[in-house]
Symmetry: C2
Subunit: 288 residues, 2 copies
């Protein structure tokens, strides 16, 4: 049975409710994290919780729990699932108050919700997917991992209607990211990804891929690239906590590397999988 | 006692809950309307419900109720309050499903929530307020009245910290709107307001003010204006369903019309109040 944690209590999913006056529901006034667990061990747990702290700080919500309590909640959720392979979701909103008003009162208490769903961690590199180029209509603070995600959902639905795995977004011709992933290209053996400014979310997976690439002596450039540079790339892949490294074979109808997984993409995906036990054990030990 | 309507049932506010898996809570995947009632009569009800239909259409959620049912729900809510002076809030989200996934399933049923809070309709023109100029960080589909409002909340909190009534937002130097209102300026007896494109929400109050101005032979221009044109304006006011016409006396430290309510602002505010009974009775009669 799955569990849902709400403000210190545990519920079954069908019993897990919050007030309709929660500002998460009325104003998308909250932030979240998604932490992958591999056989009970969180990958890069501290990085995810550091980012939660940063998101909360940017929107002015205080973090209600110390880190060891967060780890305990997340571990409990992960261990409730088969093999403890879990995608743990945590959300913190500014809290509930009645009547609805844009400006929150200062005494409001944050709402915490956490839950987990089962997943199968990748054991091999997935087949390349097709993505669709679209205009990035989202806000200018995509560096905050907020639940204010309607733009992402609209773009994701539009990509899905076109039979694509994900959108690949651009703002005035400059590539930003996907609806729920970061993008990388390879050109002349150099790995490029957009810089971690306010137009993208600096993915934990993205950052770790950059570290792995540097350790493997692959040249890395955190530089904006254009639609034309994307189309001319030797390789392309996307990254996220649950998809790790996902090769991209087509941008719309345009094949990249003849629609096949490129060699540097393959090398990084293998490095990712072989290094997973290192960064999971390391993080969990630190907290226990 | 106030009421909350959720999916066909009535609750007290403290009992009014939704699933934590509602996509309104997880993804801000929903839209809303705010309808002012004056002594039990909705102002411009059809305009609000037309806009709800449009917002729902843009995000791909079907409207679960016919209009007479919406009117009945809203009337019941308004009549539960003293003098039936009510701000009725309605929200429709894509619905709840477990586990969380960006792409919604096709069978999901929308969630409807509606509630009301008491208000005192303006009986005179309010004193001028000070607003603060800020960069518009929101998404590029502000024409959809969505609950994806974290940007608005951040800007509203920032304005409040500066002691201002509202932010006045600009995108690359062009004025757009506030966190929850539209803006107008008067220059040489011409009334200007930004055009109803995808960067602003076309307020029901905004549209009616344009009609009232035209009927009063005031020249109207729906044209973008710059920060400099704002600072050089003869008059400035903001509009919303609950504030009607609110004079603006200062943009930061810059006085407008010496910090006083301008003559055209005063004329329009009086026209608004004197015409309210006309558009309320008209609308209610049409539906009963």
């Amino acid at each position: 049975m799955s569990h849902v944690f709400i403000n210190g209590q545990w519920y079954r999913p069908e019993e897990a409710v919050i007030s309709v006056f929660d500002r998460g529901f009325l104003f998308a006034d909250g932030v979240y994290e998604v932490v992958p667990f591999y056989a009970g061990h969180a990958l890069l747990f501290n990085d995810h919780l550091d980012r939660l702290d940063r998101s909360l700080g940017e929107v002015g919500i205080s973090n209600p729990y110390p880190r060891d309590q967060w780890l305990s909640i997340c571990q409990t959720l992960a261990e409730s699932l088969t093999d403890a392979n879990a995608v743990v979701y945590i959300q913190v909103t500014r809290g509930a108050e009645f009547p609805r008003q844009h400006l929150p009162s200062t005494e409001i208490e944050p709402t915490v919700m956490a839950t987990a769903s089962h997943w199968a961690p990748p054991t091999a590199t997935s087949e390349p997917v097709r993505v669709e180029l679209m205009e990035d209509i989202r806000w200018l603070r995509c560096d905050i991992k907020s639940v204010s995600l309607l733009g992402n959902i609209m773009l994701k639905r539009e990509a899905d209607k076109l039979g694509a795995f994900e959108p690949i977004l651009h703002r005035a011709g400059r590539i930003t990211e996907g609806a729920s992933c970061n993008y990388f290209i390879v050109k002349n053996n150099v790995l490029y990804t957009p810089p971690a400014d306010q137009l993208i979310l600096a993915g934990i997976t993205r950052d770790w891929i950059l570290t792995l690439a540097e350790e493997a002596a692959i040249e890395v450039q955190e530089d904006a690239f254009s639609i034309q540079e994307l189309m001319d790339a030797d390789e392309c892949f996307l990254s996220s906590s649950t998809r790790e490294i996902q090769p991209v074979g087509f941008i719309g109808d345009q094949p990249i590397n003849n629609g096949k997984t490129g060699p540097i993409t393959q090398q990084l995906a293998e490095l990712f999988r072989s290094n997973r036990p290192h960064v999971t054990h390391q993080i969990v030990k630190e907290h226990r």
